[in-house]
C-alpha cells in the first residue's frame, strides 16, 4: 500500500447518515424525548458549559490555598467550582496511565456520591443540585467504564477488578444517593451473562433478549425511561 494514511482517513469524511437514516434516528430520538421529556428549561442556562475562568483566576492568584480549601466544598458552595474545575482537572492532567485514569474516575464517582449524601443529610439537596450531581456522576461512571474496558483489553484484569471493587464498595455505601440521583449500575460477572445488580443481588436473565425488550418503531431496543443505567 502506497497511499497516504492521512488521505485515506480523510476520505472517510464523505461517509454520513443517509437522508432516511438521519430522519429515522431523529424520529426515534423525538419519541424518546416525548416519553422522557425535558424537566429543565435551558433558556438561560447552557447545555454545554464553558470552563469557569473566574474560579481558575482565583485559584492561580492565591496559590494552593484556595485549592486546598476547596476540597471539602459541596455543590452550591462558592469553592465547589474550584474543586471540580481546578483541583479535579489538575488531577486528571496528572493521571497519565490507564490505571491512574481508572482510579481517578472511580474516586471522583465516589466523591459525587458522598456529596449527595452530605447534602441529603443537611437537607440541602435541591432539584438543581441533584441534576448537577447526576450529570457529573454519569460522566465519571462512563469514564470509569471506558477505562475498565481498556484495562481488560490490555490484559490488566487485576487492576480492572480492583477498580470495579472500589466502585462496588462506593455503591454499597451510598445506595440511597444512587437512588436519589436515579442512576443504576450493574456489573457483568461472566461472559455467560450473569450480572450482579448494584445491591449485590443476581440478575439471572441470560443473554440479550431477556433484557429490556422494549423496541421502538424502528425495531431498535429502547432503554429504561427516567434512569441512567450503566453496565460494567
Amino acid at each position: 500500500m502506497n497511499r497516504d494514511i492521512e488521505k485515506l482517513m480523510s476520505s472517510l469524511k464523505r461517509v454520513s447518515l443517509s437522508g432516511p437514516e438521519r430522519a429515522r434516528l431523529r424520529s426515534a430520538l423525538r419519541a424518546s424525548m416525548r416519553s422522557a421529556p425535558a424537566t429543565f428549561s435551558t433558556t438561560r442556562r447552557p447545555l454545554i458549559m464553558a470552563p469557569v475562568a473566574i474560579a481558575l483566576v482565583l485559584a492561580l492568584s492565591t496559590g494552593g490555598g484556595i485549592a486546598l480549601a476547596a476540597e471539602g466544598a459541596l455543590p452550591g458552595e462558592p469553592l465547589y467550582a474550584v474543586k471540580v474545575n481546578v483541583d479535579e482537572k489538575v488531577a486528571g492532567a496528572l493521571a497519565l496511565s490507564t490505571e491512574a485514569k481508572a482510579d481517578l474516575a472511580a474516586r471522583l464517582a465516589e466523591k459525587r456520591l458522598k456529596e449527595t449524601s452530605e447534602l441529603t443529610s443537611d437537607d440541602r439537596l435541591t432539584p438543581e443540585l441533584k441534576t448537577e450531581l447526576r450529570g457529573r456522576l454519569a460522566e465519571h461512571l462512563e469514564d470509569a467504564k471506558e477505562k475498565v474496558s481498556d484495562l481488560k483489553r490490555k490484559g490488566r484484569d487485576r487492576h480492572a477488578s480492583k477498580v470495579e471493587d472500589h466502585l462496588r464498595s462506593s455503591f454499597d455505601s451510598h445506595r440511597a444517593s444512587l437512588d436519589d440521583l436515579e442512576v443504576g449500575v450493574s456489573f457483568r460477572e461472566s461472559d455467560e451473562g450473569v450480572k450482579l445488580r448494584g445491591d449485590g443481588s443476581i440478575d439471572d436473565s441470560i443473554g440479550d433478549d431477556s433484557e429490556d425488550n422494549s423496541r421502538d418503531s424502528g425495531g431498535r431496543r429502547g432503554r429504561d425511561r427516567g434512569r441512567i443505567e450503566i453496565d460494567f
Binding site: M1, N2, R3, D4, I5, E6, L8, M9, S10, S11, L12, K13, R14, V15, S16, L17, E21, R22, L25, R26, A28, L29, R30, S32, M33, A36, P37, A38, T39, F40, S41, T42, T43, R45, P46, L47, I48, M49, K89, A93, E128, T131, E132, R134, G135, R136, A138, E139, E142, D143, K145, E146, S149, D150, R188, G218, R221, R223, R227, I228
Partner: protein, 171 residues
Amino acid sequence: MGHTDTEERFMALYDAEADAIFRFSFMKLRDREAALDVTQDVFTRMWEYVRRGSTIEHFRAFAFRVARNAITDHVKKSRPLYEHELGEGAEDILEIAAPGDAETKAELAGLLECLSALPEDDQELVTLRYTEGYPVKEIAEEKDELPNTITKRLARALEALRECVGVVPTT
C-alpha cells in the same frame, strides 16, 4: 405540541454531531446497521443526561466517550468480525469513501483493521484529527491535554498504522 427549548437545542447538537458519531462507530464496528444502532443509543443516553438540566462541559468529547462505551457493549453482545471480514453495509460505505476505486477500498478495509489494533484513545485521536479534521488545539482542549502531547501521540499512532498496513512514508 410544542417542543421545549432544551429539546430544540439538543436536536441541534444531534444534527451537528450525529454523522461524526456514526462514522466513528462504523470505523470500529465495520457494520453499518451496528453503527446505526450505536448512534441511536449514544444520543438516547445523552438526552437522558441533559434532559434534567445536567450540564456537559464538552458535548462532543462526552458523546465520543459514550460511543466508545456503547460500542464495547455492542461488541460484548455480538459475534466479533473475523480478520478481513466486513459487516453488513460496509461495502456500501467503502464505496462512498472511494467511489469505483477497488484498490483504495481494499486499502481502506485494511486500514480500518489496523486502526482497531491501536489503543482506544489513539483510535479516537486519529479519527478526530484525520477523518473529522478537528485542529490539534481543539482536541487538546477537549481532552485536557497539552497540544504538544496530542501531536506526539498522533505521530506515534500514524507510525504504528503505517507499519501495520505496510506504507512507505512520503516526505
